[in-house]
């Protein structure tokens, strides 16, 4: 064991600490259960639009009479309707009564059971008219091809005059889910890191650990280990969410940028976690008792909560200066930017600036957190003041 190079033994120490955190926290029953529950919720949420839409199941429509075949062609061209052609108007009427079809058209009559959706009525109306026109033209001696040409029209093309596509409901929900996920996935490991640091301090085990490890190995291992646990959770949730969306056929319908926003949130999370994780370790080391952990964590919890609440505001006010500023200024940008990316197209330079600023903040947090930690981790007793910790010799 003495043959090991100092470099590899340094990494080994860090990885051993990380491995312990993964075993103790990641593979704990409570974490596995909560992951399973969250994954199921993510899957259900992803499937929700399809379920609410009534799914892909087509509206069942019955047809009978002379115009039936022409109307059938029309409805098939529109898509989304399952057409049954009945032999007689009476059969069609019976099918509506029995609930086999939602509505039926026979010889100029629309049979419905109670009310009928406006959309369905409009579609049947226009199909009926088209069939009628078709019939009239046919009577006038036109061939089917001629009628086809005469009836072919260019569909309307949408020209959006608004700057943003913010009215996308799916974008809104994606943003909402991203902000909730980011908030949870930062809050949870940040708490665990601080708790772990205080646990080691309060149980005094840190004194034994530090004869084998450097403070940065101990803090780094904790951040890497708990980060890996949270990352696995995050990736599992995003993968299940996108997977379910793909399986239910929702993916192609998602507005441009939703998938990339979901995937990029993992990158945002990594930087944000480096920032909040090391700070949590640093401030955690200021106290010696579990009861005091809450008070030193307050600033971190507050800024995470503000980032989250700000992102929810942002979802309701895309395109505003508030949204722009919040999504660029660290640490709020960590949650706000991926949220904003889900709901509106963000200029590349804004993303680049936000990443650069967040990286800089994370680097600063790493330095500060590690400094705080190594200076105060062996100090026991009452809570150490921040300024005192920074003044103390390492």
């Amino acid at each position: 064991m003495s043959a090991r190079s100092p470099e590899s033994s340094r990494m080994r120490g860090l990885l051993l600490v990380a491995g312990r955190e993964i075993r103790v926290r990641g593979l704990s029953k409570s974490n596995l259960i909560s992951l399973a529950i969250t994954v199921v919720i993510a899957g259900v949420l992803a499937a929700l639009p399809t379920i609410l839409d009534g799914g892909d199941s087509d509206t069942e429509v019955g047809l009978a009479g002379a115009a039936a075949s022409t109307m059938e062609g029309q409805l098939e061209a529109i898509g989304g309707y399952e057409v049954t052609v009945f032999d007689s108007a009476a059969d069609a009427e019976q099918a509506v009564e029995d609930g086999d079809v939602e509505a039926a058209v026979a010889d100029g009559d629309l049979y419905v059971d109670g009310r009928v959706g406006t959309e369905l009525q409009t579609v049947l109306e226009s199909a009926w008219q088209a069939a009628a026109v078709h019939g009239n033209l046919s009577d006038a001696g036109l061939s089917d091809t001629e009628i086809q040409q005469a009836l072919t029209t260019r569909p309307l093309e949408t020209v959006n005059l608004s700057d943003s596509e913010s009215d996308s409901v799916i974008g809104y929900f994606t943003g909402l889910i991203i902000s909730i996920l980011m908030f949870m996935m930062l809050m949870m490991p940040v708490q665990y890191i601080a708790m772990g640091v205080v646990e080691e301090k309060s149980s005094r085990i840190v004194e034994i650990l530090l004869t084998s490890l450097k403070p940065w190995q101990l803090l780094g291992g904790k951040v890497v280990g708990l980060g890996a646990v949270a990352l696995v959770n995050l990736v599992a949730i995003v993968a299940v969410g996108l997977g379910v969306a793909a399986a239910t056929g929702l993916l192609p319908d998602l507005p441009e940028g939703t998938t990339s926003a979901a995937l990029s949130s993992i990158g945002w999370w990594l930087i944000a976690f480096a920032l909040f994780g090391t700070l949590a370790g640093g401030v955690g080391s200021l106290v010696s008792r579990q009861e005091d952990a809450g008070s030193v964590l307050t600033p971190l919890v507050m800024s995470l909560t503000l980032s989250y609440v700000g992102s929810i505001f942002l979802l309701n006010a895309p395109g505003t200066t508030f949204a722009q500023v919040l999504s660029i200024v660290p640490p709020f940008s960590a949650i706000a930017m991926p949220t904003r990316m889900a709901i509106e197209p963000v200029p590349f330079w804004e993303i680049a600036v936000a990443i650069a600023l967040l990286l800089a903040a994370a680097a600063g947090a790493l330095a500060l957190g590690a400094k705080l930690y190594s200076r105060s981790v062996l100090y026991t007793g009452s809570r150490l003041k921040l300024t005192e910790a920074l003044r103390r010799a390492a």
Binding site: M1, S2, S203, R204, E207, I208, T380
Partner: protein, 289 residues
Amino acid sequence: MLEIKELRKRFGDKVALDGVSLSAQPGEVVGFVGANGAGKTTTMRIAMGVLASDSGEVLYQGSPLGAAQRNRFGYMPEERGLYPKMKVAEQIAYFGELHGMDRAAAKRATGELLEQLALTDRAGDHVQDLSLGNQQRVQLAVSLVHDPEAMVLDEPFSGLDPIAVDVMGTALKERAARGVPVIFSSHQLDLIERLCDSVVIIAAGTVIAAGGVEELKARETKRLRVRVDAPRDLIADLPGTVTRDGDDYLVEDADDQAVLHVAMSAGRVAHFAYDQPTIAEIFREAVAQ
């Protein structure tokens, strides 16, 4: 050889260590004795690199003790600590790995120690579910798992039940027999006397007495204990300074042959020997001075 040289440490205005030196040869068990707050823990913490000294040095085999060597030491801090929510065997093996063992070796050593400490059936339990005495045994296992090259133990016997005290004492003796230098502190002076080759007494941050156990005992003022079956009191007859201790006469500053002569002429001499001072007496005396 583990040498601690001229350590000085201040905490604010308070001088904790004022030039503390001690050493342990390979195979030597050194007892570190002192009242609370005398500086034992501070010295040991500095030796283990947990605390930085203001000046002075810690040498191992002639050169300054580095992190890699220190990692092969066994250390038990005064404030015991274990992960309460980690399983016993997992925890001992984890520390073995931290000390540079590979996983298989750490597991093997853990198994052997659990056997020795009669904890095998608790291997899968969380530490927090163990009794305090058993937690102390786990603590001991944590400091022994990597077969340490040298041992620095702060109050290793405090809080141990008699069986664990024996296990601990045997473990220390075994290690010493294999050439491991051992330094430990304790308030249980009978244990120090039984286990140690030499003793270092510290008071107010300064070493006030140090040396081999026998050497220290011999250095103490010699006191002759005489018991005579005589009908009359001999205080006036015996030479030197004489005091009574029950039926015994304690004689100091006198020629032992002259004392024996007087005693024999007075009656049957039932007991005639120099008192061996206990370490406890030496300690009290040294601290009192």
